[in-house]
Symmetry: C2
Subunit: 363 residues, 2 copies
């Protein structure tokens, strides 16, 4: 079975400011492990497909980093002139594959910036998903929740899908996709055992997903057809640019998954997943590197009478902490963030304020 | 009445690290107001004496800053080759004056790095003190305490000293000098109304203090005589250096004030005094500059959802705070301090740790 991987690398990545920047979002940072998150994503998938079967959909603005990353590889790079969320990006990859004559092979859609601990189990689940996708199913990977998280969308499973005979891997039908819940509902979802986190990992064939896009988002489909017709021709870039300019920003979840009447399957995974969505989430993932006071430190620094503090120092300056608790300190060339780590989700408010103050150079 | 001012400028000044450095201690910083603390000290005293009547006793290591400060003035600079606390420094100034034939004029000993709000009242008290000193008394300026401070020494007053006929300014005899108390004693001192903070401001004539030094610290006195004999001669620096090498480090409080059987007087002042002993103390002094959330900010910065936070940024970096409370953030060229402002007294522990780690370049 030929498997194609579509790595979604166009994210703006403001959550790790000031380390992440407009032209260098999270997926290009090595915030966990030696390699960047996208490199880890690529290595994780490589046992399943050859290099030329891996497509990176990225933002034109980040193309310098992406091309450096590609180097001498045979990876495919599809550049979007503008970020338009996941539906257009997945559509672009699907028409690219259809144009190449690969309309009925499974394509695995993977965010470029997720952390996965047990990679082998992850790949086993993908393989099961690919077999189902090849038969025409839309497959999503659900994550078995470990806390009442309100920051993720959820998948409400239906009944067990009987076709798969595998003790370890369970497959369910999807009853519905659920938007980010409030605290009370999140707790209910966690206790019920019937809800999984929506990981943003999907598997389908180009034909399957393009049919769905055609049905639920006919305007986007027409736009994609224009791009498909231009592929391989001189005016491709111009067409791509002008078509993208007019595309709406819409997620595949909202545009297809929540609306489709086709059967959708979900495979719940328990492979140590995180979307690494905040400094706090990164801190929690790196438990093993903490000292006895739960401090996690990187770069020149010196902490006294401090606990549960995360110092990420990229500068030659020495960062000195005294009497700190639950703080994250990030020091880069032109900016320093000092934040209550439990409020690190609010970094988007920081970004808004920086924009409002016109300090674009530090974004 | 000719008054001489002796400004004690040899302090090491570690309390405002990382802004204060070995070669640039607190007295040379403009942390409150536009001018440096020593400049403010000099201006405060200038209405009482001519420039050539002001003697700065400073550390040789800081002489570059001191000479820049002196500029074209007629201020006198006495350089100590090593810091040996206040007794040798005061002794050096006293023999300098005696050598000049000014042994019976009052000399006002002033720390270079204190804050005083009501300067006119301060000078009035000094004038009263000078009159008493000229008659042979040892005079200390006490500060009427406003809180049960454990970081200062105290002066236990005795009876009212009757010789002064002044409604506003009271003079007391001193019963004893008391070392830094514990919390319970400090509270008792505050409530009793009989204890004042020891400000480190003293007035006496050179003859008076040299007699005390001769009596209570005869070895130091002998050393001072050697220096006095060499004054004005070519080998002065060599003698000064070799004598200082062997001097003990001892304060005038411990060496003379706590031991003398001569009558000591104290004049309590209520002129808005602070020794500005920590980042917290500086923060509290600058109430008027705070915003509605009690944040005090200086330099490029952006605070969100934060209160009671003090940002002192000397760098071109932007300091961003999110969800902070009771923090001080100080950003300079080679180091950043992030500290619980209520623990800013513990900065000495930071200094020790920096030394232990061999990071001398940032001291």
């Amino acid at each position: 079975m030929n498997i194609y991987a579509v790595v979604m690398a166009g994210g703006a990545g403001t959550r790790f400011w000031p380390l992440s920047r407009t032209n260098c979002p999270k997926q290009f940072l090595n915030i966990i492990g030696q390699k960047t998150m996208i490199e880890q994503t690529l290595e994780r998938i490589k046992p399943l497909c050859r290099e030329e079967q891996i497509i990176i959909v990225g933002n034109e603005e980040q193309s310098i980093i992406q091309k450096e990353l590609l180097g001498e590889t045979r990876l495919v790079l599809l550049e979007e002139p503008h970020g338009r969320n996941t539906a257009p990006a997945i559509g672009l990859a699907a028409i690219y594959l259809r144009k190449k004559g690969i309309a009925d092979s499974p394509m695995v859609v993977l965010p470029a910036d997720h952390f996965i601990n047990n990679e082998e189990e992850f790949r086993n689940i993908l393989l099961t998903g690919c077999a189902l996708a090849k038969e025409g199913s839309i497959v999503t990977i659900g994550i078995i929740p470990t806390r009442p998280e309100t920051g993720y969308g959820y998948i409400r499973r239906g009944s067990v899908f009987n076709k798969i005979d595998n003790d370890k891997i369970k497959v369910y039908t999807v009853k519905k996709f659920v938007e980010k819940p409030n605290q009370k509902d999140a707790l209910h979802y966690l206790k019920s055992g019937k809800y999984f986190w929506n990981s943003g990992i999907f598997i389908f064939t180009p034909n399957t997903i393009l049919k769905e896009i055609e049905h639920h988002m006919p305007d986007i489909y027409k736009s994609l057809l224009k791009i498909e017709n231009a592929m391989g021709q001189d005016h491709y870039s111009d067409v791509l640019r002008s078509v993208y300019q007019g595309l709406p920003s819409v997620s595949i979840d909202y545009g297809v998954m929540e609306k489709t009447s086709s059967p959708v399957l979900t495979i719940p995974g328990d492979f140590g997943w995180s979307d690494v969505g905040s400094w706090e989430s990164l801190y929690n993932l790196r438990q093993e590197e903490m000292d006895n006071e739960k401090n996690l430190v990187q770069g020149n620094n010196l902490l006294l009478d401090s606990n549960s503090t995360f110092v990420f120092n990229q500068s030659t300056q020495t960062v000195v902490g005294l009497g700190l608790k639950d703080l994250v300190i990030v020091n880069v060339d032109d900016a320093i963030l000092v934040a209550d780590i439990k409020k690190s989700q609010d970094i988007k408010k920081v970004i808004e304020k920086i924009k409002a103050k016109g300090l674009h150079s530090i974004l």
